[in-house]
Symmetry: C2
Subunit: 363 residues, 2 copies
Amino acid sequence: MSEYRQDPLSRRWVIIGGERGGRPNEFVEAATRASDISCPFCAGHEAETPPPIASYSSNGKGKWLVRVVPNKFPAVTTETGVSSPGCLQQPASPDGSEVFGDGTRSVPTSMPGVFGHGTGSVPTTMPGFGSHEVIIESPRHVASLSDLTDAEAQAVFAAYRDRLLKLKAEGAYRYVQIFKNVGPAAGASLEHVHSQLVALPGVPEVIEQELKSCGEFFQQHKRSLLLDMLERETAAGDRMVRETEHFVAFCPYASRFGYEVWIAPRQHQPRYEDVRASELGELAGLARDIIGRIERAVGQASYNYFLHTQPFDMPAYDHYHWHIEIIPRLTKVAGFEWGTGCFINPYPPEAAAEHLRSLGERL
Amino acid sequence: MSEYRQDPLSRRWVIIGGERGGRPNEFVEAATRASDISCPFCAGHEAETPPPIASYSSNGKGKWLVRVVPNKFPAVTTETGVSSPGCLQQPASPDGSEVFGDGTRSVPTSMPGVFGHGTGSVPTTMPGFGSHEVIIESPRHVASLSDLTDAEAQAVFAAYRDRLLKLKAEGAYRYVQIFKNVGPAAGASLEHVHSQLVALPGVPEVIEQELKSCGEFFQQHKRSLLLDMLERETAAGDRMVRETEHFVAFCPYASRFGYEVWIAPRQHQPRYEDVRASELGELAGLARDIIGRIERAVGQASYNYFLHTQPFDMPAYDHYHWHIEIIPRLTKVAGFEWGTGCFINPYPPEAAAEHLRSLGERL
């Protein structure tokens, strides 16, 4: 069973242990599987994964295109002894105290700020409650979002929405992190195209900071920070990659990574799960196109992407705006970045955007 | 010339461009050089680096053990047109405004919080002013701190102190980030053992957060957060790796990475540059021993370490405490971590510490 812990100095949260744990020799990277013969995500190997939570097929019938299954090696689990809905408001230990490491010192706390920076003057711990799922994005043994068919890609973005809606309805989680790892440098241990989601009992630090920035901007300017950014980017144009009817893809002004691209809706929309069904195909097509362009620009790069959306237990905000951040893993993150939190990006986003624009859509 | 930029949403700072920039094909990792024949850091190749800023030899005479040279491919430079001392207090643009990207909108600001999270409601930019140096740690072609002789290791930790003192005296910088990248997974592009430092005009986000945590803890408890942590770790023992007369090495409670180890002085000391000359050998020996143990525990791991110390332009605080964070790069940082800021560490620090203790000092 895993455990959430907060570092008192940095106030970072970590997930320690869990079923991914093991002895050091298990750190050796799992070899990627080059064919579908031994791949548990390929069609015909459905029995090698836990039973699906959801499944998508063309027009709702026939063979599956996309399957959602529990992660066999979850970082967090629902089996922690913490009753689900209570873990949001209640402290992790039964007597209302929080326990430091070996349990020698406990400080009563109401723990409202799990994952937040709260008052955080002593270390905080709680059981590793959560849900860790895998979205298998094709029955075929392909690796990247850009390899999907239109129907598969659309089902992926529908699955994201549907899982958010279902997990929200369960009432046990405050945030669901949806993310994708492609390629060994991006931390993928299986080659077969997939995304993951982790449903969390708290709001992660990065989202908390975004909510704070957006809230402060709204107070000052009475408008959404992201919409303000999108308008400026559209007007300037030099960091824009592609605009579609409802979405925009651009290289952010302060890109951490070369060829970093963000995708966001053009209209105010704080929660991804509110995306219209009629727009899912357009979004999937744009994401697929952008990743295809990055791959043509820099070769078969490893990449991650992740969705940032409003936490569940808040009214729909005027100031927040969901978006997807795509980060190609072309350079290694080194001691300077870990030490400072400041990234060195040798490749200006204006140059990256120009290159990506010049490639155009693949016919 | 590079540029500092702040992302308005995350409030992260990045360094864009600089002499490391280039076309995408330059992202290909420099092959590590297996021998000293082509290595610019080896003895006999001194002419291949810029002239040294400092040099250390045994008892101050004879051949060099450690050399400090300017980085040939700096992320930041002193040649930005910004007069040095002024860049701390003055805005980056001459008219007192800050410029967003293409310069279409400028908002007057006094920019006191460069690198801080300040009010940060609009993107901020400033020229990439700073100093980027390399500390070459041996004339021999070896890779890790654990490969150094006693004299070389001691000279390295003396060089860190001396460079901090000199750069502080220059008056142009607020913080100096000292860090080491060893192995390809840790971002090292040259194999020959070396550290780097980047002198910055602002206080990095990570340090700002540490100062905040320590300041708040001090207000509440009238003592240093780090000293409190060290006392608890010493008492508990299960995360302790080794104690020497003046220093402690332990696996932090909320370790982000498997086999993460922090080294800190046992007595209150906010600034690394105040470390006593008589203790440098002890510190160097402990750091070398700990890294040797990690390498024996998990194989020739890639690793980073970085020094966190108090910024220059503050009185010596009662609440801050310098320390070194060693992070082995055994697992990849993936989409979940980038999306949330929360790390998944499969290997509990208690188990890592037990393993490292069991290895003992190499005779």
